[in-house]
């Protein structure tokens, strides 16, 4: 187990370097340079001042020098200061936003798993039944529905027409005056719609994937063996088949991390939730380059870590991988 994990971590290094090179390349796409937003519209700027600012940010040096400087700063998590009016270090702004984004993503992943696995298993076991067909229709709807539209419809229904749930923010204005349990209730009420919306697309994909895994496993010889030795169908399905069909789900969970993180831009913006996605959107709208770059790199690194975690869990769950991989 130890050597396997070490090997995986070692293999991450070139990918990490690639991530930084690509991000740096994206930054170089900007017409002019990142400081022009500070200097272009400022009437007090003269040529020397512009040069001084460029030198301050190291922009007068060749690209590769700038890259290594940027990389060196990033190793100590220094992404520079935000161009926004608060002028705070980018890393602070990101770190205070990450927990809420992770919370929503983890909760929606759990929701995806507890709904999609039974759904996929049932429709595989009863292949071509009415239940299976109904699930397939649901899956196609899930694939085609734009997340932000679903969010709007649910906001109209539950927020405006029925007035059951709040439609923005993640806590009420009177939050500080609430008791502990009221606080939990308040936050949950705010998070129901965002979590449901962010889980919906993944639900469709996961239940479909689970169904095809299960169909594949049911056809294997060891399932026939289990049935032949007289085990009841329950044990065959839930003990022998399900365990094997669940294995690839671990990988899919790892692969769905970038989609979930990317999707957080949309639903955090719609529901006005102060997470990393909303920060990213605001940074993009304000052309706050240091923040955009910081989140881009951190988003990619989180994905890489998600994949690593999935690999490690897979090798823990399936000894065959450790031996051959």
């Amino acid at each position: 187990m130890g050597p396997y994990i070490l090997k995986r971590i070692f293999l991450m290094i070139p990918v990490l370097l690639g991530i930084t090179i690509l991000s740096f390349g994206v930054m170089k796409l900007a017409p002019g340079d990142p400081t022009s937003i500070l200097t272009d519209l400022n009437p007090n700027m003269n040529k020397e001042a512009v040069e001084r600012i460029r030198a301050h940010y190291g922009l007068d040096q060749p690209s590769y020098v700038q890259y290594f400087k940027w990389l060196k700063n990033m190793l100590v998590l220094d992404f520079g200061r935000s161009f926004a009016s608060d002028n705070r270090p980018v890393i602070d702004k990101i770190v205070e936003r990450i927990p809420i984004t992770l919370l929503i993503n983890v909760l929606s992943m759990i929701l995806i798993l507890i709904v999609a696995i039974p759904l996929g298993v049932m429709s595989a076991v009863k292949q071509n039944s009415l239940f299976d067909k109904g699930t397939t229709v649901f899956v196609f709807i899930g694939f085609a529905i734009p997340t932000f539209w679903l969010a709007l419809l649910l906001m109209i229904l539950f927020g405006v027409k029925l007035d059951w749930l709040p439609i923005s923010g993640f806590r009420s204005l009177d939050y500080p005056s609430l008791s502990f349990f009221e606080k939990i209730f308040d936050v949950s009420k705010h998070l129901i719609l965002p979590i449901f919306v962010s889980a919906f697309g993944g639900l469709a994909g996961m239940s479909r994937y689970m169904r095809s895994n299960m169909l594949e496993v049911i056809r294997q010889d060891y399932i026939t063996t289990a049935r032949a030795k007289g085990l009841d169908e329950r044990t065959v399905i839930f003990k022998h088949a399900l365990r094997n069909a669940l294995l690839p789900v671990i990988t899919l969970l790892g692969l769905s991390v970038p989609g979930l993180i990317g999707g957080s831009v949309i639903f955090e913006t719609i529901f006005a939730i102060p997470g990393m996605g909303q920060l990213f959107y605001q940074a993009v709208m304000m052309r706050d380059y240091p923040t955009v770059m910081g989140i881009l790199v951190i988003g990619a690194v989180l994905t890489l870590l998600g994949n690593l975690l999935a690999d490690v869990m897979y090798s823990w769950a399936d000894p065959r991988i450790r031996v051959s991989g």
Binding site: P14, V15, G18, I19, L22, S23, V26, M27, L29, A30, P31, F140, I141, F143, A144, I145, P146, T147, F148, W149, L152, L153, M155, I156, G159, V160, I167, P258, G259, I261, G262, G263, V265, I266, T269, I270, F280, Y281, A283, V284, M285, R287, Y289, V292, M293, I295, L296, G299, A300, T303, L304, N307
Partner: protein, 280 residues
């Protein structure tokens, strides 16, 4: 070759879901082409006497905050969505096919470099990458097409590479090589036509994905800019008036949903037809 294509279309005609998808796609293309004649009103005509009118016979989908006819704007939005979808998929398919073919045909070092590049691209949350690039460029319909295209080719590369790895060893390829055909000829004239099936499926599903991304970007105000109608930026108005005008949120989203559903059904249908393992 004729019989193979004939067979393909016969199977396609028998696949009900694929035919539904194909009909949706064809109707949408016609709507986009004849938008000017089909739309009952001008999509940009402002009528201050008819602000936020509920759906009625005169305005089947109501009017928006500036009194513009929602149905006419949706009809004109079809062209935007479809052209972004087609151009973006064209770009991503071209990149994907070329890189996948090179990686699969030459293998070795070239293959390793290309596939590592794919790994790196897959690490970025695609939507972050797209937004970051848009932040550094300017949001315009051309930039969006290009950005969606250059951030969505990885899947095609993997598919084409896998096909090339297996086809490369086949007798007809060895025959072509031994007759002295150039690498280019072997790749494009001999192997590629046999590797196109999964590309066709990926491209069809890719149009659906691109339509979704375009509408999300326009919804966030980083895509097609008003007053040009796009289903995404119409939904922004829907959100701004969510408490008073449900029709502004319902209909543009329905248009996106039907379009994406159409391409998905068609793509899945083609996959069923082309994948021999699923044949009965």
């Amino acid at each position: 070759m004729d019989s193979i294509y004939g067979d393909f279309f016969r199977r396609l005609a028998r696949n009900k879901l694929a035919m539904v998808g194909l009909s949706v796609v064809v109707i949408l293309c016609l709507v986009a082409i004849f938008a000017d004649r089909l739309a009952p009103y001008s999509p940009t005509m402002i009528d201050t006497s008819k602000i936020l009118v509920e759906p009625s016979w005169e305005h089947p989908m109501g009017t928006d905050i500036l009194g513009r006819d929602v149905l006419s704007r949706i009809i004109h939005g079809a062209g935007v969505s479809l052209s972004v979808g087609f151009v973006a998929v064209g770009i991503s398919t071209l990149i994907g096919v070329v890189l996948g073919a090179v990686a699969g045909y030459y293998s070795g070092m070239v293959d390793r470099v290309i596939m590592r590049f794919v790994d790196i691209m897959l690490c970025f949350p695609t939507f972050f990458l797209i937004l970051a690039v848009i932040a550094f460029l300017q949001p315009s319909i051309w930039n969006i097409m290009i950005v969606i295209g250059v951030t969505s080719w990885m899947n095609v590369t993997r598919l084409v590479r896998a096909e090339f790895l297996s086809l490369r060893e086949r007798d007809f390829v060895l025959a072509a090589i031994s007759q002295g055909a150039s690498d280019l000829r072997v790749i494009f004239a001999h192997i590629l036509p046999n590797a196109m099936a999964p590309v066709l499926v990926a491209a069809t599903l890719g149009v659906a994905a691109a339509v979704l991304v375009e509408s999300s970007l326009s919804f966030l105000g980083l895509g097609v800019q008003p007053p040009n109608p796009s289903w995404g930026n119409m939904l922004t108005e829907g959100k701004d008036n969510i408490e008073i005008a449900w029709w502004l949120s319902l209909f543009p989203g329905l248009a996106i949903f039907i379009t994406v559903m159409g391409y998905n059904l068609l793509g899945e249908g083609i996959r069923d037809i082309l994948d021999p393992r699923l044949r009965q």
